[in-house]
């Protein structure tokens, strides 16, 4: 069975500093991994995905994610955080039924 762990409920970072939101996964076969962002009272917006190829995936709004097969991780990163990046971030993995299984979310707060 698949699983996704986002070990931090809350991440705080100062504006301008690099940010990392962590995600580890467990799935049979090759992983299809996703990051979504949710702003207050809104639906989820797609940020980026890893299917195959380069381990560093670039996405929307300057975000990127690093796939690490040996550590079964897919951490979300950004070199310089903005206050407007404050939101709820979800990691997801595609399961055997081709559905997305989501983590519990990490709330990112960027402090001015």
């Amino acid at each position: 069975a698949q699983s996704v762990a986002q070990p931090e409920d809350q991440v705080n970072v100062a504006e301008g500093n690099p940010l990392t939101v962590k995600c580890t996964y467990s799935v049979s076969g090759n992983p299809y991994l996703f990051w979504y962002v949710q702003y207050p009272n809104r639906g989820l917006q797609f940020l980026l995905k890893y299917i195959t190829g380069d381990n560093l995936v670039k996405g929307s709004y300057g975000f990127e994610a690093e796939f690490n097969k040996s550590q079964t991780s897919f951490h979300l990163k950004k070199p310089s955080a903005l206050v407007s990046d404050s939101a709820l971030y979800f990691c997801a993995v595609r399961d055997g039924a081709n559905n997305l299984f989501f983590g519990t979310g990490t709330r990112l707060t960027v402090i001015p």
Binding site: D9, Y36, L44, F46, K49, N99, F102, T104
Partner: protein, 113 residues
């Protein structure tokens, strides 16, 4: 721009009422999904549909049913609402054969009193 529209952003219902949550997508996607979102639990899949008139149970289908009479529309039904169904409900769609990426609506926040 792709669009998934959930007709009601905020609803307040009473225990025992029948509740309909409507979702429409304009992307000609075959697959549609209903999730509920609760703090600390993330998103949990209630029901999904791979095509018109098809439906499959997700991880938490109890207390819910769905209807997919047209390709663009997927309805979630709470036959008799209960307070533990107070939640944010998210509809999503995607095309068949893709990499699994979902497109989400804005969500429907339901409060059951």
């Amino acid at each position: 721009d792709v669009k998934v529209t959930q007709s009601s952003r905020y609803l307040v219902k009473r225990t025992g009422e029948k509740v309909f949550l409507e979702c429409v997508q304009d992307m000609d996607h075959e697959n549609m999904f209903w999730y509920r979102q609760d703090p600390g639990l993330g998103l949990r899949l209630i029901y999904f549909s791979y095509d018109v008139k098809m439906k499959e149970k997700g991880d938490i289908p109890e207390g819910y049913s769905v209807s997919r009479e047209k390709k663009e529309r997927f309805s979630l039904i709470l036959e008799s609402a209960s307070t533990n169904q107070t939640s944010m409900y998210l509809c999503a769609s995607r095309r068949t054969g893709g990499t699994g990426e979902l497109f989400f609506g804005e969500g429907s926040r339901l409060t059951v009193l």
